[in-house]
Amino acid sequence: MNADNRKGELVDLKSQLRQLAGSRQPGVEDIKRELYKKVISYMTIGIDVSSLFSEMVMCSATSDLVLKKMCYLYVGNYARGHPELALLTINFLQKDCHDDDPMIRGLALRSLCSLRVKNLVEYLVGPLRSGLKDGNGYVRTVAAMGVLKLYHIAPSQCTDNEFPAMLRALLLNDPDAQVVANCLCALQEIYAAEVNISPETALRDREHLLSKPVIYSLLNRIKDFTEWAQCLVLDMVSKYIPSDSDESFDMMNILEDRLQHTNSAVVLATIKVFLHLTISMADVHQQVYERIKAPLLTLVNSGSAEQTYAVLSHLHLLVLRAPALFSNDYKHFYCRYSDPTYVKKLKLEMLTAVANESNTYEIVTELSEYAANVDVAIARESIRAVGKIALQQYDVNAIVDRLLQFLEMEKDYVTAETLVLVKDLLRKYPQWSHDCIAVVGSVSSKAVTEPKAKAALIWMLGEYAYDMPDAPYILEGFVQNWTEENSAEVRLELLTAITKIFFKRPPESIKMLGAALSAGLADAHQDVHDRALLYYRLLQQGVEVAERVVNPAKQAVSVFADTQSSEIKDRIFDEFNSLSVVYQQPSYMFLDKEVRGPIELVEDTGLLPMGPTTTDDVLPSQLVDANDNDLLLGPSDKEDSIVAASNGSHAYNGPDLSGFDSLSAPQRSQSAAFPTPTPQVATTPAATSTSLLDFDDLLGLNTYDVSTPAPSSLKLKAKPSLDPQAFQRKWGQLAVASTVDHTLANVAALSTPQPLIRHMQANLVEVMASGGKAPTFKFFFYAQAADSPPTSGFFLVELIVNTSTASSQVKIKADDASLAPHFQELFLATLGSFGF
């Protein structure tokens, strides 16, 4: 349907509704019903039908429940966008709040509370108050939640009218369990938000909520609640700290049968309570694990695929925490053919974790079958898993047998993974060299193509030259192909291996050493060149000296650095039954803000919400990065780590999910534009920016006039220098001097942050950081007043630009607040001149 047709139909609908508005003919309800249905169906497919608002409201006087519901739905959808029209609905909604039918009373009250128009709040208080006292449970249920909605719109109106106190009374006394549950839900939210407003009372109230009488009154009627309300109660109970162990046991006895609930959410909430109740009772804790194991294993295998994965993620935590407990249940973690790759990966980790002396054979046998899996990623992972198990256990014969099998498969990636595995094994257990070397000796070096595997093979050839008669000749082959070897890692390893072999079998390798060193010295890669030079000079000092440095006696590696940190094991207490468990990131790595207080009334404009909640709405992946413990690194290190992180893609389950791509884009495009920055300008951010400026001028990209940036008394310094740490510190310390929202027609065409950055730099405003994706970009700028000392007179700006709405939001902080208005004027003028 094209736009004109649609418009015509809307006009048509409008007039039809208008005619029906006052009509009392028989059968009119049916016609209305059809028309309403049409309107709602347009709404459903995303067509804006808000123009029919007044007609819809006019037709709303009806006794037909379905019609009413459609009308409520419509009003709820559009009222916020049309506050002046919303007023029209108040009348009929209020009337419906006094209907004889409790269903209509409830629905009307729900719609009334869902209008969320600030200036209509006064009409809400009365119906809410009577709703809470209504004789019907359904209406009270709606009213209890309505209080929370009111709180989100107007917190003070809610508390001033003593609504929380009314909820508290209902919480303890209402006969209807659903009313109690909704009161609980609303109170928890309200108190949590109140902490920011009046901390003392809110904390006291919350303590009251978590007090013994409240908790017990809820626990005693837990079976009356719906499964969802049970989850809510259980979550609250998990925060309650019992006074002694008897109380803990009482609570666990009351709740034990919840573990047999069909709803997995109830089961997990119960488990969380158990874990928390026994946190300080080590022996009971173990029993709890035993008790919760069976229901979890059942849930993993019996429900939908989605449930399976979510439960499995929790089980994964449990397995990491107490692997021994599952040593007999390892079969549950065998991969199924139909499991998605992400489930298989999780299962492989679990199999690795639960392996012990009693089950290693079976587990390794199973893992070996996956090595032949069609799914290459899983085949690789399973070989690595065998390696990890081998590093933990002592069953050398079984493992070496497997390795032989892997190599016999003659698949390049299997061979590659196996070689890396053997190398790790040898570093930890040099005593196995005999068995392993026999295996490695059979590998044809031509079949190995992956750098990691090549490096592993070369390392072994160098290290075990005595055990492999043809080691020098294999290495010689590698040296001959020096120029074709693309990986610096392999070339580095080759230099070392050849030098080591020279100490062991000099006659066979002296020629090759010469060739390798000269190739190394000529190598374009800095590290390779340096290593070749180092060896060369060491050898000049004498062979013994060189050998002492290059090939000293080695100690076996006892623990590899990448093994599980104990910190992760404790996550089970903090994060059990949370989303972060499922998407596999500890919550501290992620956004963990709670929506508190008034829910922002702004509409989402895109994936990146804007507005006053910016601090909360940071891209999650950014926070991941923020927590990378490299906060102390300098800017260039930081950049490296970001690139590494985006390669590692640990933020999400798929590399493409992360926001890194867009964030690191600025650098990439820059380095592409300016491929050969001279070393001296690359040292400080400020210097580079000026060089950028020069380049821009050189390339004629900007046609602005630098000398007349804006009409203002304030002059900015040409090369302000502020390091990221200082920026961060200042941003934290300074108060917001001004916040401006304004429209910016000229940014609509912005598709990357670059052009705007260049423009600002040309006008002496430097950028500290930028990011985001169309249509929303975020920038941090800074500038410095011209005649100020090096460490003061800075202006810091946070700019959020939305290209789709052509709007921007500017937040300015200044060392000297008195200069802020001048700077603001300057900044906005500069911003306004962008693109002209």
């Binding site: 059968g27 709602i40 169906s41 459903t44 006794s63 519901k69 459609m70 019907n136 449970g137 249920t141 909605k149 006969p175 209807d176 369990a177 659903q178 839900c185 928890q188 939210e189 499964e227 969802w228 049968d257 047999q260 609930h261 069909t262 997990l268 909430a269 069976a294 295998n301 989605e306 449930q307 065998y334 053919y337 998605p340 046998t365 079958e369 698949k411 972060s580 499922v582 992620f590 709670e594 508190r596 829910i599 994936l607 709405d617 940071v618 891209l619 950014q622 923020a626 927590n627 950049e639 493409d656 999910l657 964030l663 650098q667 951010p685 580079t688 950028v767 930028s770 990011g771 941090f780």
Partner: protein, 450 residues
């Protein structure tokens, strides 16, 4: 140089602005808040959306999700886990019958609560619409809006029991029927509303009346088994469910006993089951919900045998693989094994296949490389056998990845685990009702690696 330091500033700001909250580990408010639900068709089209938190979650989140879930056009199934973190929301999803139910949350919440809720939405819709597909969803949006409105308020689940919902919202077919019968009058159901919500048995309304009283139980077992390369049964378990279908008047008290409950390894129950009665004498005692419901589910581990055997043999050389697969009855379970199927998933290195069987039909699919052999029931006079050759891609001598067989079967009238019920009693009512009990076993995830 411009550095994407933005994140770490923002993080810092977060710390600054929230320092008060962080001080006391502020997690006390449980925000079970699903902001919205989107229902998507199998092509990712948004068929319906429902927002609960007052402000609209932008539709673009669905496009984002769809792109993540289908990184390449080729992939038809969703490639992301059930919970993913989008730039602005946590996105939870489930897929039922090709329809994706997607929910957004802004804060931490118990993941299974979201997943179970979405599952319940799908179940309720299926029951209301008599199925679940694109057309049904699009035709019945008014009903779906009403349902979603009663199932959740302000992001917190309310009632999801179909029997209670039916008291408040008439199923589509009933609505039209009522309208046609009672023309011109309202179809409100107010008279029944008060009783349900304050009922002491939240899953059942009072005053239910049926002309014919009957209750059926279906024992449905699925066998999961993996046979490894060497022919060993690596694992074999049974997952079972007791599904009830009740059309009983009044407030009946039903009890169901098993002859051999001790074989059950782990059980979970519908909220109606009195767990104490189960624990003291292994008897299921309950007031059933009206309509169909899942009474109980259980797991029985370490079964020693599968009812049928599958013996694959591969020998390869010179780029050709010779295949023979024999299938037969291993252990007599007392009833015939029906609907036997065998899916042979060929590795990518197989260029073409030529397989025939001496019984049943063989259907190769060249694009997915899955060959399906439909056997049905094993004949008395011969052993079914699939044989033929696989041609490997040029340059390959031998088969390197070995195919996996997925086996399907169905046994009517018997539970493979041996679980049996010996009686169903109905108390506290003054009528006699028909009672039925059936059992069926199906292959769940039964795979044979070769």
């Amino acid at each position: 140089m411009i550095r994407p330091l933005i994140f770490f500033f923002s993080f810092l700001l977060l710390l600054v602005s929230n320092s008060a909250e962080q001080g006391h580990e502020d997690r006390s408010g449980l925000a079970i808040m699903l902001h919205c639900v989107f229902i998507l068709s199998d092509t990712g089209e948004i068929m319906l959306e429902k927002h609960w938190m007052g402000h609209q979650v932008d539709r673009s989140i669905c496009a984002w999700f769809w792109k993540q879930a289908h990184p390449s056009e080729r992939q038809e199934t969703i490639q992301v886990p059930t919970v993913v973190a989008a730039p602005t929301y946590y996105v939870l999803h489930i897929v039922r019958e090709g329809i994706t139910f997607l929910a957004c949350a802004k804060t931490e919440m118990p993941p299974l609560l979201g997943i179970e809720f979405l599952g319940r939405v799908a179940d309720v819709l299926t029951e209301y619409l008599g199925g679940l597909n694109e057309d049904l969803v699009k035709d019945n949006f008014v009903i779906i809006y009403q349902l979603l409105d009663e199932m959740m308020d302000h992001g917190f689940p309310l009632t999801t029991e179909p029997s209670i919902l039916k008291e408040m919202i008439l199923p589509a077919n009933l609505v039209s029927r009522v309208i046609s019968v009672v023309t011109g009058t309202s179809t409100t159901l107010s008279s029944t509303l008060p009783s349900t919500t304050s009922s002491s048995v939240p899953w059942r309304a009072s005053g239910i009346k049926h002309a014919k009283n009957e209750v059926y139980f279906d024992l449905v077992e699925e066998m999961d088994a993996t046979v490894n390369k060497d022919g060993f049964l690596a694992r074999c378990e049974v997952y079972g469910e007791v599904l009830g279908s009740s059309r009983l008047s009044g407030m009946p008290d039903v009890s169901l006993t098993f002859t051999n409950p001790s074989i059950l390894n782990d059980v979970s129950f519908h909220p109606c089951v009195r767990i104490q009665a189960w624990e003291s004498n292994q008897k299921l005692s309950f007031v059933p919900p009206d309509g169909s419901f899942k009474l109980m589910s259980y797991r029985i581990k370490n079964l020693k045998n599968t009812p049928i055997y599958v013996r694959p043999q591969f020998s390869s050389g010179g780029g050709v693989v010779t295949v023979t697969v024999m299938v037969g009855i291993r252990a007599n379970v007392g009833k015939p094994v029906d609907n036997i199927t065998l899916q042979l998933v060929l590795p990518p290195s197989v260029a073409s296949s030529d397989l025939t069987a001496n019984h049943g039909s063989v259907l190769p699919n060249h694009t997915t490389k899955v060959t399906t052999w439909t056997i049905g029931r094993i004949p008395k006079d011969k052993a079914p056998c699939l044989s033929g050759k696989l041609q490997l891609e040029a340059g390959l001598e031998r088969l390197r990845e070995y195919p996996t067989f997925l086996v399907g079967f169905k046994i009517m009238g018997v539970a493979l685990s041996g679980l049996r019920s010996d009686r169903v009693d109905i108390n506290r009512v003054d009528y006699s009702a028909y009672r039925g009990f059936r059992a069926v076993t199906r292959a769940g995830n039964y795979e044979i690696r070769s």
